[in-house]
């Protein structure tokens, strides 16, 4: 081994060993500490739990708030709730809260807090809240404000909440995973992994610090700054920005037509629009990492269902039926998280189908409520579970028995752009970007 040749051979072996070690990765970290700046394209005015359709609102909700349960692989898992048990043939659920949980303001989290928060949730303008109201005993009347009585929600003791439902349903708990089902204190404090330093965003910026008492443990990062960034999420000093692709196919691009609008009332017009749009062209040229689809439900959710076939087979676009509509004017509401090139292309397709569409860009939350003949949205279900996702879509875009109302155009990859050395950033099945496990390699 002392000869120069032997030494050279052995040195090479050592180098090989080091190279292999680098590939398999290893053991420094996660590292606590550090700060990160996140750029988002829309900033909610307040932190109150609310339905969140856009990436920015959902990101902030996951940052600041916590719920009783979270969904993992479509099944509820404990978050602020420690455990639960059903009784009365599945018509009653006793939800036990963790005994030592506290809000950001230090107040203990009690069953009374949970009940008050879920009462607010029942009147929230979201599909998940409507679905929960339909299940909870007395929920519909309470949601409709016909009464303030709510027999289906009872505080049994300081840490136990009893939920009574009309019919046994496995989704009773899953519906508590919605962003607007977050639990807050009487003073409005949240219990999420980060504590906002102000009551609401100021001039498009937000600062938040790690919450040491978070139910899953203190996050690794010391602090996160969130700022409004350009439409690409870029900006000065931005370390991470949510982005369409690359990432899991957690969202779908949907064109939603209003069958009650005069320009789209005729089925043949809607079918003509459907036939005119060349999905493969959209994906190939404008949505790298995307996929054509058959279902409006994101492939990431469908992949868990046996027999699901999320990819749409290749086909040639059918010629547009210009005779179906003679250049009728209409408004197309476009969610601001849809890439501009995509919306421009869709406007062109509508034109080819005889519809003179004027695109109006609106926030991901307002796109569902603005009066418009058609909407172009990047949709991620509020609750990442296929059946509840279908329920949500039916609530958001009711077809009222009409065909060709919701046109799935493409599956969208939900990802993020981030700087080197950032680890632990997760995109969950619901397309939410979560930073509670993010850490920075020194």
């Amino acid at each position: 081994m002392n000869s120069p040749r032997a030494s050279a051979t052995v040195a090479a072996l050592v180098v090989i060993a080091i190279a292999i070690a680098a590939v398999v990765g290893a053991a420094l970290g996660p590292v606590y500490g550090g700060r990160m700046t996140v750029g988002i394209v829309e900033m909610p005015a307040r932190f109150d739990p609310a339905p969140a359709h856009g990436a920015g609102a959902r990101f902030l909700s996951a940052l600041v708030h916590e719920r009783l349960v979270v969904l993992r692989n479509e099944l509820p898992e404990p978050a602020l709730a420690e455990s639960w048990a059903s009784a009365a043939d599945g018509r009653e659920w006793a939800i036990r809260l963790r005994p030592d949980s506290v809000f950001h303001d230090g107040a203990p989290i009690t069953a009374a807090d949970a009940a008050r928060s879920l009462r607010r949730y029942l009147r929230s303008p979201s599909a998940a809240a409507a679905g929960w109201a339909a299940r909870v005993d007395g929920g519909r009347a309470y949601r409709d404000r016909a009464t303030d009585a709510l027999p289906g929600l009872v505080v049994a003791d300081a840490l136990t909440l009893v939920v009574r439902v009309r019919d046994p349903s496995g989704s009773t708990l899953s519906l508590l995973a919605a962003a607007d089902a977050a639990i807050t204190s009487a003073r409005g404090a949240g219990a999420g992994p980060f504590v906002p330093t102000t009551a609401s965003p100021i001039r498009g910026t937000l600062a938040a610090v790690a919450f040491p008492a978070h139910v899953r443990g203190r996050p690794f990062l010391d602090a996160i700054a969130v700022q409004l960034a350009g439409s690409s999420g870029s900006g000065n000093g931005v370390d991470l920005a949510p982005a369409i692709g690359p990432g899991p196919l957690a969202a779908t691009l949907l064109l939603i037509l209003d069958p009650d609008h005069p320009s789209l009332a005729r089925l043949e017009v809607r079918r003509a629009v459907d036939a005119t749009i060349d999905r493969e062209d959209l994906v190939r040229n404008f949505l790298p990492g995307g996929a054509t689809i058959l279902s409006p439900i994101p492939p990431l959710l469908l992949s868990a269902m046996p027999g699901a076939a999320p990819a749409r087979p290749a086909r040639s676009p059918r010629p547009a039926s210009r005779s179906a509509a003679a250049q009728i004017s209409m408004v197309l509401a476009v969610s601001s998280d849809v890439p501009a090139l995509v919306s421009q292309r869709v406007v062109a397709y509508l034109g080819a189908a005889g519809l003179d569409a004027t695109a109006i860009q609106v926030s991901p939350d307002n796109v569902w409520t603005l009066r418009a003949a058609a909407r172009l949205v990047a949709w991620t279900p509020a609750i990442p579970e296929p059946l509840l996702a279908r329920e949500e879509l039916a609530w958001l875009a009711p077809s009222r028995g009409s065909e060709a109302v919701v046109l799935p155009l493409a599956a969208l990859p939900i990802g993020h752009r981030s700087r080197m050395g950032l680890h632990g950033v997760a995109v969950d099945r619901g397309g939410h970007i979560r930073l509670e496990d993010a850490w920075i390699m020194p």
Binding site: M1, N2, A6, S7, V10, A11, L13, V14, I16, A17, I18, I20, A21, A22, V23, V24, G25, A26, A27, L28, G29, P30, V31, Y32, G33, D100, P212, A213, H214, V215, R216, G217, R218, P219, F220, H423, E436, D437, M441, P442
Partner: protein, 279 residues
């Protein structure tokens, strides 16, 4: 005179272990390595947060929810006792620390899943909790050692290396520590320029066995760090998964190294022998 380090690992550490007999020049000194098979290995009942050799060659093992003692018996590791420990705090990166004097049958433990520290004593082959403290006693640190709440960082004064926080700290004859960014610090020598992993043990003066400084992931490696030129990784061999803890018991030119390994949801303790030859 060229110092030589000779590894003899007598049972497979894992499928990825390379059998290497190597020598490499480090700052003008030649270090020769030889690896064989491990002495003993056994499944661990949980993630190994720290290890320490205690009296009669036994190995104290700190797990996320308990502390256990193993002894080597004819090439196997046998658990002779295990006591549960309270885990009252939710943490994302469990960490723990054992403070012991080699040969002593008592040892202090502290984990970041519960406040304070507990002194255990091995009596008649059984573990016994004998004392509790708000902080881990640590030589040279007036305030002792404490995990910064919710983190794996230790607030402790290491002579010559400051108050931390440190990722790992020891207070033997030569106090040393690992900074949160992975730099290895030694009293009197300062901090190394490059990083090591959080699992490390001192073999001989200036020579450590350390886990990798790569980001935590599916695999890991063990490296010999130092030799005559401290701060140099002189050899690395892959481990099958993350090395979560390392401890060494050194006797003259021989060292027994115990490692905790996390592998695909399972955990193992592997013991190796390392010999140093002085040609």
């Amino acid at each position: 005179m060229r110092p030589t380090i000779c590894f003899r690992v007598r049972a497979p550490l894992g499928a990825a272990l390379l059998a290497v007999i190597a020598s490499a020049d480090a700052a003008g000194d030649s270090i020769r390595l030889a690896m064989g098979t491990a002495v003993a290995a056994t499944p661990a009942p949980g993630r190994v947060l720290d290890l320490a050799f205690v009296g009669e060659g036994r190995i104290a093992v700190l797990l996320t929810d308990s502390v256990a003692v193993y002894e080597q018996d004819s090439g196997t590791l046998r658990r002779i006792d295990q006591l549960p420990m309270e885990a009252t705090l939710a943490v994302r990166a469990p960490a723990g620390m054992i403070v012991s004097d080699a040969g002593d049958s008592s040892f202090w433990v502290s984990a970041n899943v519960a406040p304070g520290a507990v002194l255990f004593t091995i009596e008649g082959g059984r573990l016994k909790e004998t004392q509790r403290s708000a902080a881990l006693p640590f030589r040279g640190s007036p305030q002792g050692a404490r995990f910064r709440p919710g983190t794996n960082l230790i607030d402790v004064t290491v002579p010559g290396l400051g108050n931390g926080p440190h990722l790992r700290a020891t207070a033997g004859e030569t106090p040393w520590a690992i900074a949160p960014d992975g730099r290895l610090g030694v009293e009197g020598a300062g901090w190394s320029a490059h990083s090591v992993g959080s699992a490390a043990a001192l073999l001989w003066p200036g020579v450590w066995i350390v886990s990798s400084a790569q980001p935590a992931g599916a695999g890991d490696s063990l490296s010999i760090h130092g030799g005559a030129a401290r701060g140099t990784i002189v050899a690395t061999f892959p481990a099958p998964a993350a090395v979560t803890a390392v401890a060494a018991l050194v006797s003259s030119d021989r060292a027994t190294v115990a490692t905790g390994i996390a592998e695909g949801g399972g955990h193992r303790i592997v013991v190796m022998e390392i010999a140093r030859e002085q040609p």
